[in-house]
């Protein structure tokens, strides 16, 4: 089992990229689990026909101790296991603690041993703002981290901060940063800006995903691009990412 976390600035395209990656991996025959670590609970929406699945925290509140794994995990397109941590409404409570609670419950139910996914993909909200959002970086969760960024300044800043957080965790022997995923916004000089950042933090740009209106078109059809198409610039870029991730396993 390989566990991979995708971090990046809010709205940069983490959920879109993660969902397409899940599909490409699933199409290649792997068992994939995607866990949305975001109170919005919208990471896996395009894997479940646009339907929002009930977040783990909400199910736990309703069911208390009697909750079973199949209540927390929903099967989506290509058999992908979908789970959403969920969290409080904006402005109250502690979303970070929510992620910790959700993870602990998945552990308690032995989720990974039961479902036996080849890949677990964590789609993590925005910056690493507090300990809860660093949860996927800790021991026993994601070993590999990718940062999604565009060439926009704010996105690059966020990427740098995330890299800093990850490096602190890797010093403890936890997750390590494996690369940058460029999700293009067609900013001037975008490729170079992102390559420079990657060099600075000592990783590679794994793939350069084009900005493509096919994403919105498929979204309107409540689907990912990769479940509709096997080819095209967008899917090819995602496939590069998938192959890179798979090959890492073979290198081990």
């Amino acid at each position: 089992m390989r566990r991979i976390a995708l971090y990046g600035k809010g709205g940069i395209g983490k959920s879109t990229t993660t969902s397409n990656l899940s599909i490409v991996l699933a199409k290649k025959g792997y068992t994939v689990m995607q866990i949305g670590c975001d109170p919005k609970a919208d990471s896996t929406r395009m894997l479940t026909g646009g339907e929002r699945i009930t977040p783990i925290l909400k199910t736990l509140r309703q069911g208390k101790d009697g909750v079973t794994l199949d209540q927390l995990v929903t099967k989506g397109d290509y058999g992908i296991y979908c789970a959403e941590c969920g969290g409080p409404t904006p402005g109250v409570g502690c979303a970070g603690r929510g992620i910790i609670s959700a993870f602990e419950r998945l552990d308690a139910l032995n989720a990974f041993n039961e479902l036996k996914p080849d890949f677990v993909l964590y789609d993590v909200l925005g910056d690493v703002v507090c300990g809860g959002f660093a949860m996927p970086l800790r021991k026993g969760y994601a070993e590999e981290v990718y940062i999604v960024t565009s060439g926009e300044l704010m996105s690059l800043y966020a990427a740098e901060n995330i890299a800093l957080a990850v490096s602190q965790f890797s010093q403890k022997g936890y997750a390590r940063l494996c690369g940058i995923i460029q999700n293009s916004r067609n900013v001037e000089n975008e490729d170079k800006l992102i390559s420079d950042l990657a060099a600075e933090i000592g990783v590679r740009v794994v793939t350069r995903i084009p900005r493509d209106k096919v994403v919105q078109e498929c979204e309107s059809a409540r689907s990912t691009v990769a479940s509709f198409f096997d080819d095209g610039a967008y899917v090819r870029a995602i496939t590069v990412l998938a192959d890179e991730i798979i090959s890492k396993k073979e290198n081990r």
């Binding site: 925290l57 509140r61 409404t89 109250v92 409570g93 502690c94 609670s101």
Partner: protein
């Protein structure tokens, strides 16, 4: 970074709030926090003269779900239940560290809930991150004062004073207040309200009825100032300790209240209680070399220093204060101590510093809290003089440190203790 490794972590403002509010008779505390926090609070309260918080403090017992979702339902329910079950005049709604971390809006909750309950709700939202318990006591006292004293001009009763200061963690207050009451009655002065420990909200409302507020600890000075602003009432800060100190204190009170200094009464008191160490020790028992270290709040530390030096004729080799005294700017406490010849002053010391100073100075006598007294293994005569002293009870009202009787009590005690350790007389 200061790592707290001994058994005595410094109490935060959260504790100051609880200690203050728990002292108000018709107040109940509802805490937003985990049940364990309340249990610990009750234990700490109980360690001070075995007082009980039974039916004084309640928790809404937040669980993980409340934390994650930031739900206030349980807190609101608890407040309403306390209101309808116990009918207190005030409910103090107190945040804990959990509340502060998740940023639950205690002030907003209280505001929206107030119309639905009959008790006056007072929110305390800091959760223990704002400072030490001194701050908590001062801030919560001020909040209560603002709630119950309406600004305006009052016609106070002559020869009537209030006392501002005592809370449960002030050492020896039962005896000290009894002696202060006795001293005042010698002058024909009555006490209106003693705030906050043991008072009711009606008594708080009556504070402006007295002519003067006697502030007996530095942290209550801002409260004295607050009242002065609201009602125009003056305050006087100080505690009568030792013969010299008590005479000065009585002179100031008399002056502020326009009473003639009662010369004859004072002389009579001194002839009864003012016995000198020279008359108690034998010629072969020299004591002028005896050195004392004090580790107690400012009022005690200064008053006892003055007594030890001027009335007893011993030496004070160092003074430890739990915090920088909050006395007014024109009264520099360092100068006050240095006028007594004391230059070794330490505020909020860590345990290592305390230990090394005590080991270096080798005093024969130490006034301190239980933890310091235990730490100072080489000191012969140890006198509890500050909280925390979980192993020492001061419930009987006849063991004052203040006033003429306090002087007599301490003088008798020090004589007996020196006699029990005759080696201290060897120069």
């Amino acid at each position: 970074m200061r790592i707290i490794e001994t058994g005595i972590p410094e109490a935060t403002d959260y504790f100051g709030i609880l200690w203050t509010m728990a002292g108000i008779r018709d107040c109940i505390i509802v805490e937003h926090g985990a049940p364990g926090t309340v249990t610990y609070t009750q234990m700490s309260f109980n360690s001070m003269n075995r007082r009980s918080m039974f039916h004084k403090i309640f928790t809404c017992a937040v669980n993980e779900d409340d934390v994650v979702m930031g739900s206030d339902a349980r807190l609101k329910e608890s407040i309403k239940w306390v209101d309808s079950t116990y009918h207190p005049s005030v409910i103090a709604v107190v945040a804990t560290s959990i509340t502060a971390v998740i940023g639950l809006d205690i002030d907003g909750i209280v505001r929206s809930l107030q119309p639905e309950v009959s008790a006056r709700l007072i929110p305390f939202s800091s959760g223990g991150f704002n400072g030490t318990y001194f701050l908590g006591i001062a801030e919560s006292s001020k909040a209560v004062i603002r709630e119950f004293i309406k600004p305006g001009s009052y016609t106070p009763t002559k020869k009537k004073v209030n006392i501002l200061g005592p809370t449960c963690e002030q050492f020896n207050t039962i005896s000290d207040l009894a002696e202060i009451r006795r001293l005042l009655s010698l002058l024909g002065i009555s006490i209106g309200t003693i705030f906050p420990d043991g008072c009711t909200t009606d008594e708080i409302k009556n504070i402006p009825d007295a002519s003067l507020n006697l502030v007996i600890r530095d942290i209550m000075i801002p409260v004295g100032e607050e009242i002065e602003e609201l009602s125009g009432q003056k305050y006087m800060y100080g505690l009568p300790i030792g013969l010299t100190g008590t005479k000065k204190w009585i002179a100031r009170v008399s002056e502020l209240l326009g009473i003639l200094y009662p010369e004859e009464i004072i002389n009579d008191e001194i002839s009864r209680f003012g016995f000198s160490l020279t008359s108690l020790f034998l010629k072969i028992q020299p004591y002028d070399h005896l050195s004392v270290i004090l580790a107690c709040p400012y009022e005690y530390a200064y008053g006892l220093s003055e007594m030890i030096i001027k009335d007893w004729g011993m030496q004070v080799s160092a003074v430890f204060l739990p915090e920088e005294p909050q006395i007014s700017e024109h009264e520099n406490y360092k100068i006050l101590f240095s006028d007594l010849g004391i230059h070794d002053l330490y505020c909020n010391p860590d345990d290592d510093l305390f230990e090394s100073i005590v080991n270096g100075k080798k005093p024969q006598i130490l006034f301190a809290n239980s933890y310091y007294l235990k730490m100072a293994k080489s000191v012969q005569i140890k006198i509890p003089a500050a909280h925390p002293t979980p192993d020492y009870i001061t419930m009987y009202d006849g063991t004052p440190f203040v006033g003429f009787r306090g002087y007599a009590y301490l003088t008798q005690m020090i004589t007996n203790m020196c006699n029990a350790h005759p080696e201290v007389f060897i120069k």
